[in-house]
C-alpha cells in the first residue's frame, strides 16, 4: 500500500515520469487482480482443450461440445447459485439433497398425472422453500451457514428417502421430458452436429440473469459488499438481512431448476440422486476464481469451473488408461492448485 500513498487532498504531483509509469502499471495489475484467478481458469480450460485435441482428437467438434453442455447444464445452474452464496462469504451444502428431493417428488407427482407445468413450478418451488429455510436459520437464528445448510441437506435427503428409495421413472411421453428434446443448431457431417436442449438454453439464461443481477443491480452490489465486510455493509445502511435471505433463496431456487433440467434429461430420479453435487458446485465456483471468503468472483468463472470439471471427465474417459477412481484425485488436485493460487494472490494484495 505504501507505494500508492501518493495523494493527499493537496496533491503531491511531483513524481517523475518513470515513477508515474510504474504507478500506472501497478494500478492496472492491481485493478485486475480480482479477475486473475478467473482468467487462469479460462487459460486452463483452453489448455485442456488443446491438450485433449492433440492427445485424443475429436474434442473441438460439435458433438463433443454439445454433450459437454447438455451433460453439465444442471451443474452450471447450481454453480451459479453457489456463486451468489459464496460471494457473501457463506456456503450452501444442501443443493445436492434438494435436487434429490425435488426430483423424486416431482417425478411422483408427474406420474400421478399432475400437469407438467404445475410439476415444474412445484419442483422449483421446493428448492426455493429449502433455500428460504436455510436463509431464515442463518439470518434470524444466527446459525452458521455451514450448519444450517448441512441440516437442510440431511432434511431434504431424508424426505427424499421417505418418498421413495427406488428409482422413479418418468414415462417418455411426459411433457416434462420435452425440456430435454434435442434440436439441431448446426448440421455437421454424419453425427457431428451441434445439438442443444431447452435445458442448455435455461442454463444460459440463468448465467445471463445471474450476471445481470450481480453486476447491474443494487442487490448484486450488496452481495459483493457483504462478502467484503458484512459489518461495513450494515453500517453503510445496505439491506444486509434481506440480501442474505435472497442469496440462499436464489441458491435453493436454482437447485430446484437444476432438478427439473436433470430429470428431464435422464427421466429417472432416486433418493440418492445428487450426492456430492454441492461439492462439485463449490469446486466449480472455486476453480472459477471466486474467493471462498467472499467478495470477489464472477458468475462466468463458475461456469468455466463447471465446464473444466465436465471436460476433465470427458478427457479421462477418452484416455481410457486412467482408472475412473483417479477422477476424484485429479479433481482434488486441480482444486488445490486453484486455492493455492488464490492464496498467493490475496497475500500479495494484503501487503
Amino acid at each position: 500500500m505504501t507505494s500508492t500513498l501518493v495523494t493527499g487532498p493537496s496533491g503531491a504531483g511531483t513524481k517523475s515520469r518513470a515513477a508515474r509509469l510504474v504507478d500506472t502499471a501497478a494500478r492496472t495489475w492491481r485493478t485486475n487482480l480480482a479477475a486473475l484467478p478467473t482468467l487462469a481458469a479460462v487459460v486452463i480450460f483452453i489448455a485442456m482443450i488443446v491438450y485433449g485435441e492433440a492427445a485424443y482428437g475429436r474434442i473441438l467438434q460439435y458433438n463433443t461440445i454439445s454433450n459437454l453442455l447438455i451433460n453439465n447444464a444442471h451443474l452450471v445452474i447450481i454453480a451459479v447459485g453457489m456463486t451468489f452464496v459464496i460471494l457473501t462469504g457463506g456456503i450452501d451444502l444442501s443443493v445436492g439433497a434438494v435436487i434429490a428431493f425435488s426430483s423424486v417428488a416431482g417425478l411422483m407427482l408427474a406420474n400421478a398425472g399432475w400437469p407438467a407445468w404445475v410439476v415444474i413450478a412445484l419442483m422449483i418451488g421446493f428448492g426455493t422453500a429449502f433455500g428460504v429455510a436455510s436463509g431464515v436459520l442463518i439470518q434470524f437464528f444466527n446459525v452458521q451457514p455451514f450448519i444450517a445448510t448441512l441440516a437442510m441437506m440431511f432434511l431434504a435427503r431424508g424426505l427424499a428417502s421417505t418418498l421413495s428409495t427406488k428409482p422413479e421413472r418418468l414415462s417418455d411421453e411426459s411433457p416434462v421430458r420435452s425440456l430435454a428434446t434435442k434440436f439441431k443448431v448446426i448440421d455437421g457431417e454424419r453425427v457431428n452436429d451441434l445439438v442443444l436442449t431447452p435445458g442448455v438454453l435455461i442454463a444460459v439464461l440463468v448465467i445471463a440473469v445471474g450476471f445481470f443481477v450481480l453486476h447491474r443491480t443494487r442487490t448484486g452490489r450488496t452481495v459483493y459488499a457483504i462478502g467484503g465486510s458484512e459489518p461495513s455493509a450494515a453500517l453503510m445502511g445496505l439491506p444486509v438481512v434481506r440480501t442474505k435471505l435472497w442469496v440462499y433463496a436464489i441458491s435453493g431456487t436454482l437447485a430446484g431448476l437444476a432438478a427439473v433440467v436433470y430429470t428431464a434429461r435422464l427421466g429417472i430420479a432416486q433418493n440418492i440422486t445428487g450426492i456430492g453435487w454441492e461439492l462439485d458446485a463449490i469446486a466449480a465456483v472455486v476453480i472459477g476464481g471466486t474467493l471462498l471468503t467472499g467478495g470477489a468472483g464472477y458468475v462466468l468463472g463458475a461456469v468455466v469451473g463447471a465446464l473444466v470439471l465436465g471436460l476433465m471427465n470427458v478427457l479421462i474417459t477418452r484416455d481410457g488408461g486412467i482408472r475412473p477412481e483417479a477422477t476424484t484425485i485429479i479433481t482434488g488436485g486441480i482444486l488445490l492448485v486453484f486455492v493455492l493460487l488464490q492464496r498467493a494472490l490475496t497475500a500479495r494484495k494484503r501487503e
Binding site: M1, T31, A34, A225, A234, L238
Partner: protein
Amino acid sequence: MTEPSPIVEMQGISIAFPGVKALDNVDFRLFPGEVHTLMGENGAGKSTLIKALTGVYQIDSGSVLIGGQEQHIHGTAEAQSAGISTVYQEVNLCTNLTIGENVMLGHEVRGWSGVNWRATHRAATEALAKLGLGHLDTRRPLSSISLALQQLVAISRAMVTDSKVLILDEPTSSLDANEVDGLFQVMRGLRDQGVAILFVSHFLDQVYAISDRLTVLRNGKYEGEYLTRELDRTALISKMIGKDLEVLKSLGSNRQAEERDRTVTPLVKATGIGRAGSVEPTDLDLHRGEIVGFAGLLGSGRTELARLLYGADRPDSGEVEIEGKKTEIHTPVDGLDHHIAFSTENRRDEGIVGDLSVRENLILAVQAKRGWARPLSRRDQDAIVGKYMTALNVRPADPDRPVKNLSGGNQQKVLLGRWLATNPELLILDEPTRGIDVGAKAEIQQSVAELAEGGVAVVFISSELEEVVRLSERIVVLKDHRKIGEIVNGPDVTAQEVVDIIAAHGTEAALESDIIDPEGKD
C-alpha cells in the same frame, strides 16, 4: 453570534445495559454549521450516545429531535434517510470494491439496463470533488489508497446522501499529522456549507484545533456543554476525569523521595521502541525494585506501550535490552520467558477465565509457561494456590469456586496471583484497581508496594492519577501516543502537576519530550 435552532436535540437520554447504566439522563445539542466535539474518557458513553442517535441502540427514555421533530430511528438506513451519516474509527468500507462503488453503494445511478456504471462513477467523482478529491480514479480498488484517503472516501459517501449531520467517531486515530490537516480542511469546508459535524477524538490538540463547541460526558452522565474557546485544557481534563482542581492540588504524594541509583544497568532498557499507529518511538528504563507509573488519559498510548514491553504487540521499531543484553520480545511467550508478566486492563475478556475455578485461574500462567504436556502436580498446585490466596487475601477462600462468582476486586487479586506465581522480574499492571471497591484497592496497592520492595520492577498503569502519584517512584507521562515527560516522584509532586504537563503539551510547543524533574536530579 445568533444561534439558529439545533438540527439535533437529544433530551434526557438514558440507556441501560445489563448491570450498567451506559447513559444516564444525557442532553446533547448540535447546531448546523458547527463542529461539536463529544469529550469523555473511554467508557464515558460517547459511543453509546452516537449509537443512540444513529439508531443502533434503542433508548430507554428521553427523546431525539431532528430538525425540531421527534424521531424514532431504527438502524443505519433510517438514520441516513433522516440525514445523519456516520464515519467510524475503523473505516467501514469494502476494500474488495472500487473507490467509486464504495462512494455510491446503495445509491448507484440506474438506467433501463440496471446500474449505469458510467453515470455512477461520474457521480462518485462529483461527490469526491466536493472534498477536493476529484483527482482520484474511482475505478481503482479502495485497497489501493491510504487509510487517510479511505477515511475521506467514507466522508464523501456520507455526503452523497446530502447529510445534514455528519458524525465522525475518532476519525483521526490512525492518521498522521498531515493527513489530519487534510481531514480538518475537509471538515471546515463542510461546516461552512452548513453541515453539522459531531466529532469524537482522544487528541486534545485536535479537539482545540477544530471544534467550536464541546459536550463533556463522564461515567455516562452529562457534565456540561461549553464553547471551546471558553474552556481551557486544564479545566476540560478535570471535567473529564471528574476531579475538582482544588482536590487535585491538595493531593500530595506519600512517597518518600528516595535516592535511587539510576546509573546501574536497568532491568529493562527500551530504546526507541514503537509501533506505527499505536505508540511513537519511546525510550524507557525500568529498574529492579522500582514502581514506574504510566500516567495519561485513556487512549494516550499507555496500554499500547505496556503491550509492546510484554510482547502482546510486536514493536516495529527500537530495541529492548534486558540486563544489558539485547533481546527480542515479539510474542507473549518471549515476554514470559524473560520473566515479564502483563496483567491486562480488560479483566473480563482478556484476564480471568470466568468458568474455571480460582485454582485453575491461578495456575494458568505457570502451566502455560511449563507447556501443557507437563501438567502441574496437585501438590504444586496446592502450594501455589495456598500461597497466593493467603498472601493476597482472596475471599471467599474456596479455591474450587468458579472465578466469575467472585467480586471484581477478588478477581483482580486472582489475576495478580496468577502472574506472581510465574515469579516475574517485571510485572506490568494495567488498571489493576479499576472498578473495585476501596478495601480491595488498598490491598492490591499494598501488594504492589511489597513486590517492589522484594526487587520486582513494576509498571503501574491507572486512570486514577492520585493512585499513580501515591505508588510510583517515577511517572512516565503519555499523551497522543507518545511519551511527553517523565517525573521523578517526590513528596511535593501532585496529581495536578501531571495534569499540567498533559494540558501544557500543546501542538507545536513541545514536539520533543521535555523532561520535567522537580527535584533537579536525574
